[in-house]
């Protein structure tokens, strides 16, 4: 889109208020969605909750293909479709809702940097674990990923996606890493987040921002998802302030929905609540 067209669209976006029927699309919760996609989806849901914008979660088997950028989740607001947390934050800002307006420039820089830290380390580690670790791939990922489709399509799609993710890992230099090194990286990332959070309720003191939503999405999903081994969630549990942080956000923003809450819904036989 040219600059003029985008300005035009932003104007339209700003002009319309947030509709009641905004929808967030992700893959099927019970059988299909994987750890990394669930984390991203939860982050967006948390963000919209924090902005007090109602959104309905719709599960579709082909959500990945419907998305304009190929990544889930994406939201449909009116007749516009936006995917991924970054663009969604900007879209919501154009509509006049923002969580990070109260931050000064240095804090905004830090917020962006920490969001990239989560994307760079946590998300990549999740992808590595899902697609490059033999046992997880066989027992969890392959059966789940293609489950809505008949044989042989389910196998083909799973292998295709795996090949794509492995190429990306090679390009960014993660292909040579062993599982221990990846878990070590997760530990470093959690340590950094824990130190930045300290004893504050949210990362930028009193008010949650998109960084809080993103961290919550990833950490909560890691803590409540059952994988072949508990090593990943153990790494996060080592930092008690992060666990308390997740519980705080869950109680504050997701306690209204009880049974069909997206935060506590089962995903890979998740425990549904934070372990104490």
């Amino acid at each position: 889109m040219s600059l003029v067209a985008e300005a035009f669209v932003t104007q339209i976006a700003a002009a319309e208020p947030w509709p009641e029927n905004a929808a967030l699309y992700q893959q099927l919760k019970e059988e299909q969605i994987l750890l990394s996609d669930n984390a991203s989806s939860l982050a967006v849901q948390a963000f919209l909750q924090m902005c007090n914008l109602p959104v309905q979660v719709v599960c579709r088997a082909n959500a990945e293909y419907m998305s304009p950028s190929g990544k889930v989740p994406f939201i449909r607001v009116g007749n516009q479709v936006v995917s991924e947390l970054g663009p969604i934050v900007q879209f919501v800002k154009a509509k006049g809702h923002s969580l990070s307006d109260g931050l000064d420039e240095v804090q905004k820089a830090e917020m962006k940097a920490y969001m990239e830290l989560v994307n760079n380390m946590l998300l990549t580690a999740e992808l590595y674990l899902q697609w490059c670790d033999g046992t997880t791939v066989e027992e969890i990922t392959h059966p789940r990923y293609g489950s809505p489709y008949p044989w042989p399509l389910n196998r083909i799609l799973a292998y295709q996606k795996q090949w794509e993710v492995k190429r990306k890992m090679k390009a960014i230099g993660w292909a040579g890493k062993s599982l221990e090194q990846v878990l070590e990286d997760v530990d470093q990332c959690c340590q950094a987040l824990s130190q930045r959070l300290g004893t504050q309720p949210y990362f930028f003191n009193k008010q949650p921002t998109e960084l809080d939503a993103l961290v919550f999405g990833h950490l909560f999903t890691i803590l409540t998802t059952q994988l072949t081994s508990d090593e990943l969630s153990e790494k996060v549990k080592n930092y008690s302030n992060l666990v308390a942080f997740c519980r705080r956000i869950e109680q504050h923003y997701f306690e209204d929905h009880d049974k069909d809450s997206s935060a506590s819904a089962a995903s890979k036989s998740s425990k549904g609540y934070l372990p104490s």
Binding site: L117, N120, M121, Q195
Partner: protein, 320 residues
């Protein structure tokens, strides 16, 4: 640490000790911490022990090839630039490094290697001049393809096809990243006070090539130049830590002892290829001369062999 570790890295150019951001980061970190490294500046990646640059040859762990691994190894050897940092500053380091790698590095790769004008007129030219024959015919192109593939995987295939969209989105985010770095640095000398840390090495290695290279089409470069504190920051690190090997092109003589080893290593190659080409030329001429009969060797008694054929030829000529 009995024997110093050996580091193989790309040679210098454009006023920098090394043209590659990864190599530059390792060099800068080593300078900051005073790590004793024997530096081999090469222009041929096949000469490095692992086949790619940068590469650190250590006694304990063999050859390490990725920038992060090398810096971690140096840290383990007690050359730690982050020793004085608080826990919070250490966390900030990780975060800003991730920001650089996600937002700025892909756009840097695009600017140097994928953007058509820059690649053809600047990057490829430098590498083709620097890399020895015959690798300079295909290595730059191969590196170009590798970088292009890497960008396609990171950004998604559709993004690269639509140049305008790409330029708008990615370059905007890169400019924002530069502005954020500038705001974080503020008036300070280094990111965490008065002594340099690993974050400074990373930031410097990414910004310095962008600042110093003479790119024909440099939108990002112009934005960087408008951020005065970042420009001053790069120049001060260059003048403080790399005062004398502000890299000349590898063909002219660098002045540091560190790269003298590299210089003498390159000299025999140059000399060798010169001698080789002269010999090949001579052999071609002599071979042609023999084959077409201009010169011939006749086996006969020494001394008499020479004059007689000529005398006979003269007689023949006289007869005619």
């Amino acid at each position: 640490m009995a024997a110093p570790m050996e580091l193989f890295c790309w040679a210098g150019g454009w006023g920098l000790p090394s043209v590659d951001p990864d190599c530059l980061a390792v060099l800068t970190y080593a300078r900051f911490t005073g790590a004793p490294l024997k530096v081999h500046k090469v222009t041929n990646p096949w000469r490095s022990p692992s086949g790619c640059l940068p590469a650190l040859k250590t006694k304990e762990e063999g050859v390490l090839s990725q920038m992060h691994q090398i810096i971690t190894h140096l840290r383990k050897q007690k050359y730690n630039a982050d020793y004085d940092l608080s826990a919070r500053q250490g966390a900030d380091t990780l975060a800003f490094v991730s920001l650089l790698e996600e937002k700025l590095l892909p756009v840097l790769i695009h600017t140097f290697w994928v953007d058509a004008k820059n690649y053809v007129e600047h990057t490829r030219k430098w590498y083709a001049d620097a890399i020895p024959f015959p690798l300079n015919f295909f290595l730059p192109n191969r590196m170009h393809k590798q970088h292009l593939e890497r960008l396609q995987l990171i950004w998604g295939d559709s993004c690269l096809e639509d140049e305008e969209e790409l330029e708008k989105e990615m370059y905007r985010e890169a400019r924002e990243c530069l502005t954020l770095l500038s705001q974080r640095l503020g008036d300070q000398k280094f990111f965490f006070g008065d002594s340099p840390a690993s974050l400074d090495a990373f930031v410097f290695s990414h910004l310095a090539p962008l600042l110093k290279a003479k790119l024909p089409s440099g939108k990002l470069q112009q934005h960087l130049k408008s951020l005065q504190n970042l420009c001053d920051y790069c120049s001060s690190i260059l003048s403080l830590y790399f005062p004398w090997d502000g890299g000349d092109a590898p063909s002219s003589a660098p002045k540091t002892s560190a790269s003298q080893g590299a210089e003498t290593e390159e000299e025999p190659y140059k000399r060798r290829s010169q001698i080789l080409s002269v010999l090949v030329g001579l052999a071609a001429m002599i071979g042609y001369a023999f084959l077409s009969g201009i010169v011939s060797i006749q086996r006969g008694p020494p001394g008499a062999a020479g004059p007689r054929p000529i005398a006979m030829e003269e007689e023949e000529e006289e007869e005619e």
